[in-house]
Amino acid sequence: MLDVSTGVALAAVGAGISMGASAIGSGIGVGIAGAAGAGAIAEDPSKFGTALVFQALPQTQGIYGFLGAVLIMIGTGILGGFTGFEAAANTMAGLVGTTPENAALVMGLAAVGGGLSVGLAGLSAIGQGITAAGSIGAVSKEPGAFGKCMVLTVMSETFAVFGLLITILILVGLKLLGA
């Protein structure tokens, strides 16, 4: 049996960072937007719809983090345990012409890189939550500002999308996905 434990451990860390960091971002962002939503609803329960739409926006980073983690786990084969990872390492070693041990290490580091990308980009949900909170107040005061506030709030999403995109490119580029 190959010594692939380091690679497996790194792949698990990568998947963990992807989900964990983006969950922190989304949790805080949704929390801030939710507090603003509760304030608006306390004064006017008809503001629930507006509050819900803006509160939902910072949740997407959590979804990206989840998606990134699943892709890392599929790409590195750790969903199939050690055997799955070992098989993926062997395949990769054959494709790039290196030893399976080195391939396992590279796969693990690629997973950490991919996890950091989508996970840290998920922290943009905090900023999005702050904008969403401000927008809930602004739209409550001036309902006509809904569209403009929505555009401003969605801006932070760009960086989360870039983060997920880089994760996918790392996995595809290293032939962990789609090979």
């Binding site: 805080i28 801030i32 507090a35 004064e43 909170a133 107040g137 005061k141």
Partner: protein, 391 residues
């Protein structure tokens, strides 16, 4: 070079140990960067609920279009009907008669409730700052009591007009309303920030003019507030309050100076009524004290932010000869500053300052138009008395 080779060249036994050290360093560096950011985020989160609520409350302030319709009303009954669709509605239902005083009482009761709500909902660190702003209502109440006692109104009548939202305890306000002489009111203020009023009693005895006591009350209010706002280390909220208070003090002083110059009062008799503090330089105020006419006061303001708002009101002053358009322009400018603070500082004291200043303008306008309609003024005459957000 292999990863193991890289680790060995850096003095590590294996790559995993190099990776562990690198990860630990990255985590520590990340925490050093993230902790201050997270602290700021937590601070913002504290304001999210309050400020969103205040924004909703602000959205209920009577819009200008509705105010225009109300100005056209031919009777107080029409004004009451127009107010039925606003948040004053529950308070108006308790009105026993359609008189401007009854409308004012409904406005005051609503104001007291709204302000109390704002004071309750703001985070702890803002309560102290808000109290400085709400002291204005203590002074409003004391002035009402002084006028009521002077006019020999009954304690119940006086109490009906009071707005108990300031710093003074409601029981203290009630006690003041029970007084039967001005001396008694002022002696009952012992132990409060307004105990210095006793110094103005002598001047009142000479002039029999309540304005001297009321002016002293304003001086105490603004000078104490200015001291409170500037004596502590300035954080963002205190800075916003200081900016608002500075404009407030300047507006109070400028209104007084314009009126004094219009009435031709000598510099010596004006100076003691001016509030110390604010944003205008002492040398500028001294310069204004020395000029003779309203036009010269306007010219002296050229280097200040008050020049443009005042300049807009000058043609109306020149055509009517009344200082009121200039006073309204200055008051409108103060509301604009409050509104601007609410925009530039959405997570902090901003929305509360914006709401309180807009609400004050609303109450003042509804009161003015109710009194105007009751007095039989034409819509055009009332329109000239209405305050607008400055430019």
């Amino acid at each position: 070079m292999t990863l193991e080779g890289l680790a060995a060249s850096l003095g590590f036994s294996s790559f995993p140990s190099l990776f562990t050290v690198a990860l630990t360093v990255a985590l520590v560096a990340g925490l050093i960067i993230l902790v201050p950011i997270l602290l700021r985020v937590i601070e913002i989160a504290n304001y999210a609920y309050t400020n969103s609520r205040i924004q909703v409350m602000s959205s209920r302030i009577i819009p200008e279009e509705k105010l225009k319709e109300m100005i056209e009303a031919s009777s107080l009954a029409e004004v009451v009907a127009a107010l039925e669709t606003t948040e004053y509605s529950p308070y108006l239902r308790e009105m026993m008669e359609e008189r401007s005083e009854a409308i004012e009482r409904a406005l005051n009761r609503h104001t007291a409730d709204a302000y109390r709500e704002v004071a309750t909902m703001v985070p702890m660190n803002l309560k102290k700052i808000l109290v400085i702003l709400l002291r204005k209502w203590d002074v409003y109440n004391i002035k009402l009591i002084l006028r009521g006692v002077y006019a020999q109104r009954s304690p119940d009548d006086i109490r009906a007009d009071l707005v108990s939202v300031g710093e003074l305890d409601p029981s203290k306000i009630n006690e003041l309303a029970e007084a039967r002489s001005l001396e008694e009111v002022i002696s009952n203020l012992d132990g409060t920030p307004y105990s210095h009023l006793v110094e103005s009693l002598q001047l009142f005895d000479q002039t029999r003019n309540l304005t001297v006591i009321e002016a002293r009350l304003d001086n105490i209010l603004y000078e104490d507030a200015w001291k409170d706002a500037t004596s502590q280390p300035l954080d963002e909220n205190l800075l916003a309050l200081k900016n608002y208070l500075a404009t407030n003090i300047d507006v109070v002083n400028l209104k007084f100076l314009f009126r004094a110059k219009k009435d031709g009062l000598p510099a010596g008799s004006i100076e003691s009524y001016l509030v110390r503090g604010g944003g205008l330089q002492e040398s500028l105020i001294k310069g204004i004290l020395e000029v003779d006419t309203v036009d010269n006061v306007v010219a002296a303001l050229e280097v200040t932010k008050y020049y443009q708002p005042v300049l807009v009101a000058v043609p109306e002053y020149e055509s009517t000869g009344s200082i009121l358009p200039i006073e309204l322009a200055l008051d409108g400018y103060l509301v604009k500053v409050g509104k601007d603070i609410s925009i530039t500082q959405p997570f902090g004291i901003g929305p509360a300052i914006g709401y309180l200043s807009m609400k004050e303008m609303e109450i003042r306008n509804v009161r003015t138009l109710a009194r105007g309609i009751e007095a039989g003024l034409s819509p055009d005459e009332i329109r000239n008395l209405i305050m607008r957000v400055g430019t």
